[in-house]
Symmetry: C2
Subunit: 433 residues, 2 copies
């Protein structure tokens, strides 16, 4: 039975008319969000997605997003891998990341592991896109996802870019989404209407990323657009905090892509300002964070056809220990296989705690699974095993760890993670180059 002290709610939170997007009980929808739809770009944006011929499947593989506002501001975040793809290196090191006005994405080929030739190819794509949409090259972000180590077919991309530029449309968001996906099993997109003091703004985000399914390894891409008016510093701060609380807090298998990129562009076309330090900024930030949180959870849920998603919450102890324990649990193949198997195995959680906080001094800790205390002072406590086994069959399973000393005033470390099952092995082992 759920512990009375547990903050876990069993009731999914979903806004009226949420269109099924806010489906995790771990995401609460801020009051400022007055509409949730699966379609609808903000004012000032056009998008397109075309099948250029990168993907053998014939699916859309070149996507283009353009902001028509000359004074648009932007922010971006990239993978921390030192083996970054050519598009990441180009955009990060040679782009105006605070003033991006377009994004071009190739899917099916990441242009990673392609050396100096890859950088030449990324520059060519950027130049072609600049010509096609009549913007300076440094205002264009380039992204890639798909196989690595294979030279990008730049002529194929160029032809696709030409078509995409012709097809750019305010209603092109669905084609754009399909153009960035690889092996995603379901769309990861929402268009929120956010009520601010100056009026309503639209906040749209689309993400791709499905764990390790794409032949070599996964990439997380996310593109956020809004017609709110932000200054560049605010955009950077909001995106940074949003990514840190969402895409940086998930693990499919602890691996790090060469290509992860998140971009936010604000057109300002609504005329509604989000000024720093205001209640409007807090409301906008809350909506953005809820949006990114749910997208991140969808990425986890799509990881290798995962059966269920876990959330580990670590409280107490030292901040570095909290973080280490949360990451260790989220990345433990023993914990992940137990989640897959629907096994409330607290010994594996204890193992991860001990590994994350090494040393001869025992750390007192307590563990709750699905709200049920199963271990206190590193020892099993009596619980209703049959009820707990039933509880961990749910699509979302909570793991809570309290480290000593308890520190109620400090924020917990939270990581969301997918399970590890036969689908993961099948997808990642039975593909042969």
């Amino acid at each position: 039975m759920p512990d009375a002290e547990s903050p876990v709610s069993e009731t999914p939170s979903s806004a009226p008319g949420s269109d099924g997007f806010f489906r995790s009980r771990w995401v609460s929808v801020p009051d400022a969000v007055v509409g949730v739809a699966s379609r609808g770009l903000p004012r000032g944006f056009r998008a397109a997605g075309v099948a250029a011929g990168i993907k053998a499947s014939g699916q859309p593989d070149v996507a283009l997003l353009v902001c028509d506002a000359p004074d648009a501001v932007s922010a971006a975040r990239f993978t921390t891998s030192s083996v970054a793809s050519a598009p990441v290196v180009l955009t990060r090191d040679e782009g105006r990341t605070d003033g991006l006005r377009a994004v071009v994405i190739t899917s099916g080929n990441a242009n990673a592991g392609t050396g100096r030739g890859g950088l030449v190819a990324a520059r060519r794509v950027r130049a072609d896109a600049a010509a096609a949409v009549d913007l300076p090259e440094d205002r264009i972000a380039v992204c890639g996802t798909g196989v690595i180590g294979v030279p990008l077919p730049v002529d194929v991309v160029a032809a696709g870019l030409g078509t995409a530029a012709e097809e750019l449309s305010p209603a092109g968001d669905d084609d754009f989404r399909r153009g960035i996906e690889t092996t995603d099993l379901f769309p990861k997109v929402a268009s929120l209407t956010v009520r601010l003091s100056g009026g309503e703004v639209t906040l749209h985000a689309v993400a791709k990323g499905a764990g390790m399914i794409e032949p070599r390894f996964a990439t997380m891409l996310c593109f956020v657009t809004t017609d709110a008016r932000l200054d560049a510093a605010t955009a950077d701060r909001l995106l940074g905090a949003g990514v840190a609380g969402s895409f940086d807090r998930i693990s499919v298998d602890g691996q790090l892509s060469t290509s992860d990129t998140a971009v936010l562009i604000a057109s300002g076309a609504s005329g509604v300002a989000v000024d720093p330090g205001t209640a409007d900024e807090r409301a906008f930030a809350a909506a953005l964070h809820a949006l990114l949180d749910q997208l991140a959870l969808l990425i986890v849920a799509d990881g290798e056809g995962a059966r269920r998603v876990g959330r580990v919450t670590v409280r107490g102890g030292r901040p570095a220990d909290r973080e280490a324990v949360a990451r260790q649990v989220a990345n433990s193949p023993l914990v992940k296989t137990a989640l897959y198997g629907g096994d409330p195995n607290w010994g594996r959680i204890a193992q991860a705690v001990g590994a994350a906080v090494p040393g001869p001094r025992s750390v007192p800790f307590a563990i709750r699974i699905a709200g049920v205390e199963v271990c206190r002072d590193a020892e099993e406590v009596p619980f209703d095993r049959a009820a707990l086994v039933a509880a961990v069959q749910a699509p979302e399973v909570d793991y809570e760890i309290d480290l000593a000393p308890a520190r109620a005033d400090e924020s917990p470390a939270v990581v969301h993670f997918s399970d590890l099952g036969h689908e993961y092995v099948t997808v990642n082992a039975e593909y042969t180059t």
Copy 2:
């Protein structure tokens, strides 16, 4: 085709009469090893293993090892987990680890995750063993492996200990081995004859550990005995270096047991001294290291019925980067599933390099798989894919990574690892508490 510069030998090294023990091509047998057998305790030792009733299967589950030499010296190493089992805490914190004369092991129950009651139980086992073999309690190491979170049935163990003490025999090594195993699929044991300047000595070691098969999580135990005469400081140094080069350089799934323990006891009964700083010490150390290396590889090979074993060797760059890259590759589920699938996928190796060495500065690197260069300057180089696919079907697969700058004079970082396949998921997910 293997690169001409590659140090990899395709020829298994095996000593004459090696009885199949030295089966890895990565272990070379030192000249001082003049005999390899699967049985034969050194002089001065007796052992036993009995079925006390811990294991439902009726297999042996209480094992006892005693050294009859009053002046025996010993050394020990333990898990670095802060969630250490009660036997580890007791032996490590309250044992004379430089003068151990007996080891008692329970298998089927690790006495871990059992809190204060577990420590009381471990003390009871140690006291019962001390009485049974007539030795001081602090001369007795206690070890456990098996389920965690379940109280140890101390009366069952006590009865088994009484029987085991009666059955102690110089020929009891095989019963002892069976008494420490849990789900090991094959024995991990050898008795070496080592020729030193003063005569021949016997060096015996037995290990258990089969990855994550035991219901909760794996434990590595290793017991080394010899009739050579060592001082305690030498024993400690030799065991420490041996463990650091073997059991600390393997990964089944990056998890850390609560219970890992390695013990070395030297009876001195041969009368042949191994004095520090001598050629004899170097010869003895080489034999010990080869023995522990091969045992460690057998543990990896037994992990979840692994199809094959990988070895990652990282050269060049900074020492901390070498180590981080080797660990990241060895623990990467993407690399491990590719090993399982027989897929020479260098993109996954590149991904692990980038994750292990984060930051915006690209690290130049080269990758060889099974001796074939596949990537240089972070870019694919032409190679015979069909030949390489055939090569990675072998039971042992080499992954070599050169980081820039090349540093030929420094030792590489080496880690051995198992693959990740359906058996792992089956064993770890389909067990339900």
